[in-house]
C-alpha cells in the first residue's frame, strides 16, 4: 500500500520535471510552425538580404537586417556601459572591500536588475534623452543610445555578480604567490587573478548580452519604432522585441502574413539567445573543472 503511493508520488514529481521539456518543445514547435508559413510566402534570401522591414506598410519588405541592427546597437551600448562598470565592481568587492560592505551592497546592486523594465523605459525617455540632448544636438527623441545606456545600468548586476563568482573561484594560492613577489593588489588583480578568471568573465559578458537582446520594454518605449539599417546610435531604430510589441498592440488579423512575421522575428531572437546561452554554459562548465 505504502509502496504504491510512493511510486505514484515519484511519477507525479517526474511529470512536473518533464513539463519543462514540454515547454521547450512547445516553444520550438509554435515558432517553427508559423515561421514555415512565413517562408512559404517570403523567400529566405530576401529575409536575410533585404535592407528594409516594412510588413505593415503598403510597400511591403521583409528584410530582418534593420531589426537585427537595431537589436545589435542597443545591446552594444548596454554592454559598453555594463561591462567596465560591472567588472570594476566585481574586482573591488572581491579583492578590496571588506566583507561587511560587500554583504550590504550586493542586495542593493541586485535592486538595479529588479526594477521593472517599463520603469527603465520611462527613465530613458523622460530623463536620459532630454539630458543627453543638451550635449548631443543631433540626438533624436527616440534613440538606441538612450535606451542602451539605461539597459546597461539594468544589467550591471548581471555582469558584476557573475564576474565576482569567477574571481572568487580563483584559488587563494595564486594571489598569495603574487603578493609574495611584492606585487600590489592592482598588479595582482590584472596580471594574475583576472587572467585566471577570464573565461568566467566572458560567461558574464555573454549572458549580459543575451539578456540585453531579449529586453523589450525599454527599447519599445525609448528606442523608437522605426526599423532602420544603421549603426548610428543617435537616431530612432526598432529592435526585434519592439517590433513584436508593436504588432501585438495593433489589430493584425490572425492567419495573415503580418501575423506570421512576429514568429519569424521571434525565432531569430530565440536562436540568437539560445546560441549565446549555450556558449556560456559550455564555458562555465569548462572553467569550473579547471580549479577543482
Amino acid at each position: 500500500m505504502k509502496k504504491s503511493s510512493e511510486k505514484i508520488i515519484e511519477k507525479l514529481l517526474l511529470s512536473s520535471a518533464l513539463f519543462t521539456i514540454l515547454t521547450t518543445l512547445l516553444i520550438i514547435a509554435i515558432l517553427l510552425f508559423e515561421t514555415v508559413k512565413f517562408f512559404s510566402e517570403i523567400s529566405i534570401i530576401d529575409f536575410f538580404t533585404d535592407t528594409e522591414w516594412t510588413p505593415l506598410f503598403d510597400d511591403k519588405h521583409f528584410g530582418i537586417l534593420p531589426l537585427l541592427s537595431g537589436t545589435f546597437l542597443t545591446s552594444m551600448v548596454a554592454t559598453l556601459i555594463a561591462l567596465p562598470v560591472g567588472l570594476v565592481i566585481a574586482i573591488y568587492l572581491n579583492e578590496y572591500s571588506g566583507n561587511k560592505f560587500r554583504k550590504t551592497i550586493k542586495p542593493l546592486l541586485e535592486l538595479l536588475a529588479a526594477v521593472p523594465t517599463v520603469i527603465y523605459g520611462f527613465f530613458a525617455l523622460v530623463i536620459v534623452t532630454p539630458f543627453l540632448q543638451q550635449f548631443i544636438p543631433g540626438l533624436a527623441g527616440f534613440s538606441s543610445l538612450s535606451a542602451g545606456i539605461v539597459m546597461g545600468i539594468m544589467i550591471i548586476p548581471y555582469v558584476s555578480s557573475l564576474s565576482e563568482d569567477a574571481l572568487f573561484a580563483v584559488p587563494k594560492s595564486l594571489r598569495e604567490a603574487s603578493y609574495g613577489m611584492g606585487a600590489t593588489k592592482f598588479q595582482t588583480v590584472f596580471k594574475v587573478t583576472l587572467p585566471a578568471a577570464s573565461s568566467g568573465v566572458i560567461v558574464a559578458v555573454i549572458l549580459a548580452i543575451s539578456r540585453a537582446i531579449g529586453e523589450t520594454m525599454i527599447v519599445a518605449i525609448a528606442a523608437g519604432q522605426q526599423p532602420r539599417l544603421t549603426l548610428n546610435p543617435l537616431v530612432p531604430v526598432e529592435t526585434i522585441t519592439a517590433y513584436i510589441v508593436q504588432v501585438s498592440l495593433g489589430d493584425v488579423p490572425r492567419e495573415s502574413l503580418e501575423y506570421t512575421t512576429i514568429f519569424a522575428a521571434g525565432i531569430t531572437l530565440f536562436i540568437f539567445t539560445l546560441i549565446l546561452n549555450n556558449i556560456s554554459f559550455w564555458l562555465r562548465n569548462k572553467f569550473r573543472e579547471k580549479y577543482d
Binding site: S16, Y92, V118, F122
Partner: protein, 284 residues
C-alpha cells in the same frame, strides 16, 4: 623605490574607481527615483488608487490595473509554485545521475534564458486554440507561470540542497519512507529558501509587461475583472500606455503609477533579502 610608490598610487586610484563604479548605477537609480517622486508624488492620492481609467488624465486611476496585477499574481502562484517545487524535488531527491539529469538541467537553464517576449508568443499561440480565453487573465497568468517556472525550480533546488543530510538520515533511521522524509523533514527545513525564490520570481512577474501585451492584455480596461476568463490590464501595461500618450498629464500619471509599482517590487525584494538572511543563519 619610485616604481613601488607609483604602484601604490595606482592601487589607491583603482580603489577610488571601484567605489565610484559601485555607486554609479545606484546613484543614477536614486536620481531617477527622486525625479519620479518629484513628478508623481503630488498626483498620488487615494482617488488615484481607486479611480477607473479615463481619457482625462486628472480623473484616471490605477484601480483596474492594480486589480488585474493582483489577479495575475494569484493565478500565477497557483500554476507555478506547486509545479516548480515538485520539479525541484524530483531533480534533487529522485533523479538518477546521468545523461537525463544533465539534459533536464541544461533545458531549465535554457528556459531561464529565453526572452520573456518569446513566452508571450508561446501563450498567444496556445490560447489562440481557445478563442474564448483570448486576452483572458487565465492566458496571461499561464504565460507568466511558464516564464517564472525556471526561476522557482532553480531557487527551490538550491534550498533543498542546502538541507543538511543529517536531518534526512535521522528520518530514514526512524523508518520513514523517502516521501515521508521529504514531506516532513526536507521541505519544512527548505521552506525559507523556497519562499525567497518564489517571492523573487513573483516580483519579476508583477513587473512584466511585454509577454502580457503579446498574449492580448488590454491597455484600457474600464472594469475590474471578476473571474479568470475576464479581460484585464496590469500596472506595467497601464504605465506603458500612459508613457506613450502625448499629454503631459499622462506623464505625471505614469510617474505616480511607477511609484506604486516600485513600492510593490521593492517591498517584495526587501522581504526576499530578509528571508534569505534569516535563513542563512539557520544551518550555519
Amino acid at each position: 623605490m619610485i616604481s613601488t610608490k607609483k604602484n601604490k598610487i595606482i592601487d589607491k586610484l583603482f580603489q577610488i574607481l571601484g567605489i565610484i563604479s559601485t555607486f554609479f548605477g545606484l546613484l543614477l537609480l536614486a536620481v531617477f527615483i527622486g525625479f519620479i517622486l518629484y513628478q508623481g508624488l503630488g498626483r498620488l492620492n487615494f482617488d488615484f488608487i481607486t479611480a477607473l481609467p479615463s481619457r482625462i488624465p486628472e480623473r484616471a486611476g490605477i484601480y483596474t490595473a492594480l486589480a488585474g496585477s493582483l489577479w495575475i499574481l494569484a493565478l500565477s502562484i497557483i500554476f507555478s509554485v506547486p509545479l516548480g517545487i515538485a520539479a525541484a524535488i524530483y531533480l534533487e531527491e529522485y533523479i538518477p545521475e546521468g545523461k537525463f539529469s544533465k539534459f533536464l538541467e541544461i533545458n531549465i537553464s535554457n528556459l531561464a534564458g529565453v526572452p520573456s517576449i518569446i513566452y508571450g508568443l508561446l501563450g498567444l499561440q496556445i490560447f489562440s486554440m481557445f478563442p474564448g480565453l483570448n486576452g483572458s487573465l487565465l492566458a496571461g497568468a499561464f504565460t507568466l507561470s511558464l516564464l517564472i517556472l525556471p526561476i522557482i525550480i532553480v531557487a527551490a533546488r538550491e534550498a533543498i540542497r542546502a538541507v543538511p543530510s543529517s536531518i534526512k538520515d535521522a528520518a530514514y533511521a526512524l523508518g520513514a519512507t523517502k516521501w515521508q522524509t521529504i514531506r516532513h523533514q526536507t521541505l519544512p527545513a527548505a521552506f525559507g529558501g523556497i519562499m525567497t525564490g518564489i517571492i523573487l520570481a513573483l516580483s519579476r512577474a508583477v513587473g512584466e509587461a511585454a509577454p502580457l501585451i503579446v498574449v492580448g492584455a488590454m491597455a484600457y480596461v474600464p472594469f475590474v475583472p471578476k473571474s479568470p476568463i475576464d479581460q484585464y490590464s496590469v500596472l506595467p501595461i497601464q504605465i506603458f500606455n500612459w508613457i506613450s500618450r502625448p499629454q503631459h498629464g499622462f506623464v505625471i500619471n505614469a510617474a505616480a503609477g511607477i511609484i506604486v509599482l516600485l513600492v510593490i517590487t521593492f517591498s517584495m525584494n526587501a522581504l526576499a533579502v530578509y528571508l534569505r538572511n534569516k535563513n542563512q543563519k539557520k544551518f550555519s
